[in-house]
């Protein structure tokens, strides 16, 4: 049994240490907001925060997450209130198919925690997730709006 703190709640995960955190979250805890995209850390669809840092959970063994705080897309709301990044995503009408957006939002949350007023270069450096629908114009606008919020 591995204990990880997911969105503030301690969770017992019955899994091999080497199981990627992504699958522990999706298939053991059945929290499906975090997505499988490539399994090799190349697309960012699986991005979560581990102790506040954006990590690609498909390539992060669950054993290494023991005792750490994991934040997933489901944990961003405070009560019924959306995180300012989520609200900015709605205001800018970012998602198309929406599949990559959990990861995009988590990456943006981490960016804004680190840099409250990111430059264009900061945004391009931090936001390397793939959006196959190509909603980059809207993602950029939403990050800028969230930074001002």
């Amino acid at each position: 049994m591995i204990t990880i703190h997911v969105n503030g709640t301690p969770q017992q995960v019955d899994a091999e240490d080497g199981m990627p955190l992504l699958w522990a979250i999706r298939d053991v805890l059945n929290m499906t907001g975090t997505k499988y995209g490539c399994g090799v850390g190349a697309c960012g669809a699986c991005t979560v925060l581990i102790d506040g840092v954006a990590m690609r959970s498909c390539s992060f063994p669950v054993g290494l997450a023991a005792g750490k705080d994991v934040t997933t897309i489901e944990g961003l709301k405070t009560g019924d209130t959306l995180h300012k990044v989520q609200q900015a995503w709605i205001d800018a009408q970012v998602p198309q198919c929406g599949y990559c957006q959990s990861g995009q939002i988590m990456a943006a949350v981490a960016l804004l925690q680190e840099k409250s007023r990111p430059t264009e270069a900061d945004v391009e450096e931090a936001m390397t997730n793939i959006c196959r629908c190509g909603a980059y114009t809207q993602i950029r606008a939403a990050i800028n709006a969230a930074a001002r919020a």
Partner: protein, 738 residues
Amino acid sequence: MISRRFVIFSGIAAAGGLAVGYALTPFSTLERAAQLVAKEGAASLGAWVRIGSDNSVTVIVPHSEMGQGVHTALPMMLAEELDADWSLVSMEQAPPDVAFANGAMVREYLRGDMSIPGWMSGVTEFGSRKIAELTHLQITGGSTAVRYTGVRAMRVAGAAARRMLIKAAAAAWNVSEGEIEAKQSRLSHKSGKNATYGEMAVAAAAFDPPVDPPLKAKKDYKIVGTPMKRFDIPAKVDGSAKYGIDVRQPNMSFAVIAASPVYGGTLKSVDEKPAMAMRGVKKVVKFPDAVVVVADNTWRAKEALLALQPIWDDGENANLTQASIFEGMTAALKKGDLTEDYGNGDVDDALKSAKNVVESLYRVPYLAHATMEVMNCTAHFEGDKLTLWGGFQDGLGSRAAAAKFAGLAIENVTLHHMAMGGGFGRRGRQRQRTIDYLERAIAVARQVEGPVQLVFTREEDMTQDNYRQASVAWMKAALDDDGKVNAWLHTFTEKHDPPEAVRVNYGFANQAVRYATGTNPVPWGSWRSVDHSQHGFFIESFMDELAYAAKTDPFEFRRAHLADAPRHRAVLELAASMAGWSNPRQPGRAMGIAIREIFGTIVAQVAEVSLTNDGRVRVHRMWSAVDPGEVINPATFTAQIQGGAIYGLTAALYGEISIDKGRVVQQNFPDYEMVRMADAPEHEVRFIESGARTGGAGEPGTVPVAAAVANAVFALTGQRVRELPLMKAKFIGKTGGS
């Protein structure tokens, strides 16, 4: 009631309300539609709309949402004609039932609309089957949802429902219909009498629906043409949207598949023991051409599959290479055993007598769809009942295909539509391989107790796709003494859909389009914009070559050939003016332009490029001018043009699936790269609403971008791009790059 244009039907629905339907299908179908969407306490006003006693308006949408906004655009069209209060409007996805088949679209196809891709017919051959079979279509693709369902059904149903509510109010208040005002979901009379639509809905059931209700003039629109927020977005920002891969059922198993890496190969043998010894593994399933591991979660199934060493018989494609495929294609074109596709005048004669002939060979590679959500489907047999969960571009067609594959009556198959993490053609029926992920899931479920979710790993998804056609084109044209095109000969390999993809609007006096067949050994599938994706590059790149051969500016050259195409000319001019075409660029930058008509929408795009220090192409800015006839939701449409252009730019810069030893070489994103944020250009989009017949939104933005970028590269470097993707080449700027 039957009118010349459509069938409209009213009757008592299950919940005691009224059903008004619009379709070409028989009356019984519409009754069934009304029953399917009727809910207790709600009067069902039409197969496409339900008005609740709380005055809520629910629009039933028969198409799949893939992020293109159709679940919002279609309700906007209906609510506009209904004069509904938009804050009371919501939507429901129609069940995958015959009653919601794309009657309007089938009708247009039978009328001979060229811009409907034939692949949408799936396994159905139009013209040779009964109309009842034609209705087994519920397709989202070919940019058809707004163009057909929206224009032909949603608007009419909304207007008909509004007329019936007015009739009910007039009777209740004993006044004439002309004195009733209906707006914002409320009926009122100058006497002060008023009622909500919800209060009058059941009474409206007593009236016949008008057969041909008048539709609003564009100037009176209040909802259509505004940037309404999409219904599907809130669930996509908090993780609550459920995609096919998110289905979780009690006692569910997870399965991962490896099919023969060589097309047409078969499984000789596999030792199950290494997998069966691993934790959580329940079963190894063998198919003639694939092996599957079933486990208690996805990762354990993946790991166990990797532990297997299947032995394959590679079959006859074992020595296939990309070079051999391209050589075969080029040889077929040179040999000249071609099918005549389209033409006017006498191109051969005109070329023979011409002084100034230009010719070029172009080629493009195979492309994978690479939807962000890999192919997956969950299936569960309970006796002779089959339940399916997944993302499908053609819900009803998928249900019918599942029933056929499983050998069950369609009534015994339940299909749950989940959100789709991208479609782009991959989640529709394919000519060659039907719906592979659905059939695989059914085949696995037959051998497993309880529900099973079959998932393609990213590697499997990329190597077992149905690919955009790799193709070679031999373009040949003659210029007359005035520098105008006098002959245009476009020959290429493998024709799919739509027929319009090879047409030009340039008014050439002599032209012919011809193609070779039998050159493609790789499974084909429709890929966003279908044949447009390659022909847009061939046609608009070659047009650029001709402009330089005629020593004319590429914009002016195109413009001069669009004298008889005023809509196209206006779009081209707008794009050039947005980009400041005639203004000098900063050193090291240049622009290219291209224009195409795709699924009824005309798009001209300008791209501004530079070269990186290592000779790679960087696209800084794009401008798109778009005439789709009318715009339903400008925010969604703009996002579709921008996103569509990213899809096309990814293909132009990076997209390449190649074959070696009969296998797809590329496995995952590191070797099938995508445009990411840092690569994404600024992109300004403007619309011309010409009022012409409504065109599509989802695919047009993908098409001209490759030629626009390649033409800009020529302007910058003098190197003509005749092969994609661009990353394969290094370029040297005329001014030494920037």
